[in-house]
């Protein structure tokens, strides 16, 4: 079988083949660690009946939507009370409510966010304003400690 201009065609095909399978070469031989977010914090361990604001499966897929709604309600409407479908009441606050239990951002939030390939510095952009309470260090910077009434 004669291929005319075979030099160009074969080089082109080779480049295409490598580009099309690029992730295989990039990830070749790497051990992919599962995301494995940790739920072991003192507050959660102490809970008799472990529950989050919504059922677990829903929290996994919907937490970003929920937080976005909370932000809108708090910042724009000044509402701070959230009533979950099961009747429990929560304060709409990432720092005081979410982090009360999930005080381990590095082992909880970051694990999945990194695994999903979000850019740590900018995405999710929650933490360009918020800080993790447990990571507040005295004297680390005045910016970090903003009075809550200021919102």
């Amino acid at each position: 079988m004669k291929i005319y201009d075979g030099k160009y065609i074969l080089i082109g095909l080779l480049v295409f083949g490598v580009l099309a399978t690029f992730p295989i070469w990039l990830d070749h031989g790497k051990v992919i660690a599962p995301a494995d977010p940790s739920l072991n914090t003192p507050v959660i361990d102490a809970m008799m009946q472990k529950h989050c604001i919504l059922p677990k499966a829903q929290m996994i897929t919907e937490h970003m939507k929920l937080l976005n709604v909370w932000r809108t309600e708090v910042v724009r409407d000044g509402k701070r009370l959230y009533v979950a479908p099961d009747g429990r009441k929560y304060e709409m606050s990432l720092e005081t409510e979410c982090f009360r239990c999930h005080s381990n951002k590095a082992q909880f939030c970051d694990r999945c966010h990194n695994f999903a390939g979000l850019d740590k510095a900018t995405d999710p952009y929650c933490f360009s304003c918020h800080v993790v309470p447990s990571e507040k260090k005295p004297g680390a910077g005045a910016v970090a400690v903003v009075p809550k009434e200021g919102k």
Binding site: I32, T61, K65, N68, C112, A116, G117
Partner: protein, 340 residues
């Protein structure tokens, strides 16, 4: 008929994935078998088609000459519309592949009220086509975040740029909207312009409906019927590391999206979508117009014994001079070096 058939085919594919996953529970088939099958068909099919094209000899230059060819020095040469060197042809190809230059020249021919016929520029097709292709590229590259760990910074950068407006969470992507708009335009164009509709076949509608269905299911997966992204990425990483696992509990909408994408990849080499490879092998685009500059020898010519005019004249010069016929070289100068 073409529309109904294509629409039915796409709906059939969606139903097949829906019933296959929720009813029959063929998770392994839709999560592992299909993607492997699709990628083998895709890569193998593309290679087959391209090599098959490569078997056709192109003995003579046949570029479309969309401008003045290289001529006398005072005649302005349209370098990229009628290239005469490889370099100019490369620029022409780049303009064609990256900017769809020939589509930009699209005109339409219409009869005005009365009997006047006129040509008019028609850029909408070019705009929609360019938007569609570039959005598709960005979407494809964005999806690399499911197939790489750690994710390359250019993918994250692209993601950030695409989600620039930060509307909602997860953020709306600009390309998602533009992609749907562009594909919708391409479908409507086919349906509304009578001439285009007349020449449209099922294989013209099917890819459009398929792409629209892929975009729609993708958007639904991201914003409405959300699925567990970590499980999806586990599935994707398993596939490319050849240790496939299908984590339990991924939403059906993901499998529909995934199945449609697999169908697109498997269908690609055997359809008009192969224009992606075909554009590079188009003799009317990728050849320099140097028919009169270089000698092109037909590759399957058998050796022909030739007798050039110079040889002919050498042979018969004396007789020609005797008969009073004009000769290039006179008798006395003939034995010396060839004349200018």
């Amino acid at each position: 008929m073409g529309i109904k058939f294509s629409l039915a085919a796409v709906v059939g594919l969606i139903l097949a994935a829906y019933i296959g996953v929720t009813g029959a529970g063929f998770y392994h088939f839709f999560g592992v078998t299909m993607p492997y099958l699709a990628i083998i068909l895709f890569l193998g099919g593309v290679a087959y088609r391209v090599l098959n094209w490569g078997r056709s000899p192109v003995p003579f230059r046949i570029p479309t000459t969309a401008g003045q060819q290289k001529s006398l020095p005072w005649v302005k040469h349209a370098k990229y519309d009628n290239p005469s060197t490889k370099g100019q042809t490369f620029v022409r190809m780049a303009l064609e592949v990256l900017l769809f230059r020939s589509l930009f020249r699209n005109t339409k021919f219409e009869a005005e009220e009365g009997h006047r016929l006129y040509y008019q520029q028609e850029k909408w097709l070019w705009l929609a086509a360019l938007t569609f292709h570039y959005c598709f590229l960005v979407i494809l590259l964005r999806h690399l975040r499911f197939f790489t760990l750690p994710v390359p910074s250019f993918v994250q950068g692209l993601d950030r740029l695409d989600g620039f407006f930060q509307v909602g969470l997860p953020g709306i992507y600009i390309t998602d909207g533009l992609f749907v708009l562009a594909v919708t335009y391409l479908i409507i164009r086919r349906l509304v312009i009578p001439q285009v509709r007349y020449i449209s076949l099922p294989q013209d509608y099917f890819p459009l409906f398929l792409l629209l269905a892929i975009a729609t299911t993708g958007i639904l997966t991201r914003y409405i019927y959300k699925v567990d992204l970590i499980k999806v990425k586990t599935l994707a990483m398993g596939l490319i590391s050849f240790h496939p696992v299908v984590p339990a509990g991924i939403g059906t909408i993901f499998f529909i999206h995934f199945f449609l994408v697999c169908t697109l990849f498997a269908y690609f080499p055997f359809s008009k979508l192969m224009h992606a490879g075909g554009i590079f092998l188009s003799p009317t685009r990728n050849l320099p117009n140097d028919n009169r500059i270089r000698r092109h020898v037909n590759p399957w010519n058998y050796p022909v014994k030739v007798h050039t005019y110079a040889q002919y004249e050498d042979h018969f010069r004396e007789k020609m001079v005797e008969a009073g016929l004009p000769v290039d070289k006179e008798l006395e100068e003939a034995p010396s070096a060839p004349a200018e």
